[in-house]
């Protein structure tokens, strides 16, 4: 209970357990049904708190939301890089095209124009991904508010954390933390 006497969410599980204990001590008929319902509610609150704690801590060492956001931003970076390389190539073709006889030049220029037009996908996908990132950030804020309402959480509880071979599936690597081929070669060689 809070100081003003109202029940706060963090107290709910303990409060319910006290009520359950008191009910069990009674010799009232039909109490078992009520006890079962309250036990169900108490379990539900505990599981929900654990799940929120797991979401807050994330699986493994990474924060679920920030990792997902980073992954999405990496997509934008990678597609921008690929698009620029495609346009580098298209611009090179365009320079050659103007030196050719008109029919060939025209055909090549049409193809180059199509490449430029199609390259707009990067802008469109980038905007969509940015919207998803914002939605995730909003969800993260709401989850933090919910977690705060539930009081201190057991953040060591990890729900459905991958184990065994599944725990090895974390790629593709994020560029800022990625090992280079040189790093991998050195590691590989060091393993004998």
């Amino acid at each position: 209970m809070s100081q003003n006497g109202s029940l706060q969410l963090p107290d709910a599980e303990g409060y319910l357990n006290r009520v359950i204990g008191e009910l069990r001590a009674l010799k009232a008929p039909h109490k078992n049904t009520l006890v079962s319902v309250l036990e169900y509610l108490s379990d539900h609150i505990r599981v929900t708190r654990n799940e929120i704690g797991a979401l807050k801590s994330g699986s493994g060492n990474a924060q679920v939301f920030s990792t997902t956001t980073d992954e999405l931003e990496e997509i934008v970076t990678e597609t921008a890089r690929a698009t620029n390389r495609i346009m580098d190539a298209a611009e090179s073709v365009e320079k050659v095209a103007v030196t050719l006889e008109p029919a060939s030049a025209g055909a090549l220029m049409d193809a180059v124009t199509s490449i430029y037009e199609a390259s707009a996908f990067q802008d469109i996908t980038g905007q969509r991904i940015t919207k998803i990132v914002r939605a995730l950030q909003s969800l993260e804020e709401k989850l933090a508010a919910l977690a705060s309402a539930f009081g201190p959480l057991d953040e060591t509880f990890v729900a459905n954390a991958p184990e065994g071979d599944a725990a090895l599936l974390n790629g593709p690597q994020m560029e800022k933390t990625a090992a280079s081929q040189t790093d991998i070669d050195a590691l590989f060689a060091s393993l004998g």
Partner: protein, 129 residues
């Protein structure tokens, strides 16, 4: 329909890829006098220093959006006559209405093709058609 190949164009987009696409497509239209800006503020200062003949701007930019930029341009006595084409992925009716009310000269929805770009540029210079 002909285009004034010597016109100076300011293109505005926060995606460098899109700026490059626009520049390349304009070059194919033989329009080479092109300045770029990554946001509305930079574009506005660029225009104040040297008013262009045409502005082609994205909408969705921060902190100054393409719509903000359009309103600033239309409120500026020195710039208000400049044709302004919005090139954007925002395609809801209310977007087009808001842009029209703010004084946009034409509206291109992304993704677009070179023919559309050319047609819209021609349309905002009716005297040259």
């Amino acid at each position: 329909m002909s285009l004034n190949k010597n016109m100076r164009v300011v293109i505005v987009d926060d995606y460098t890829t899109m700026l490059r696409i626009l520049r390349n497509l304009l070059r194919q239209l033989e329009i080479n006098n092109v300045d770029e800006a990554n946001d509305g503020d930079t574009a506005y200062h660029l225009m104040q220093k040297n008013p262009p003949d045409l502005v082609i701007s994205d909408w969705n930019m921060v902190p100054v959006t393409g719509l903000d930029l359009l309103r600033k341009v239309r409120a500026d006595a020195k710039l208000k006559h400049i044709p302004f084409i919005m090139v954007t992925a925002e395609s809801k009716t209310e977007n087009v209405v808001a842009a029209k009310q703010a004084g946009v000269s034409n509206y291109i929805v992304k993704p677009f093709n070179a023919d559309t770009l050319r047609a819209k540029i021609v349309s905002v210079f009716p005297a040259m058609v």
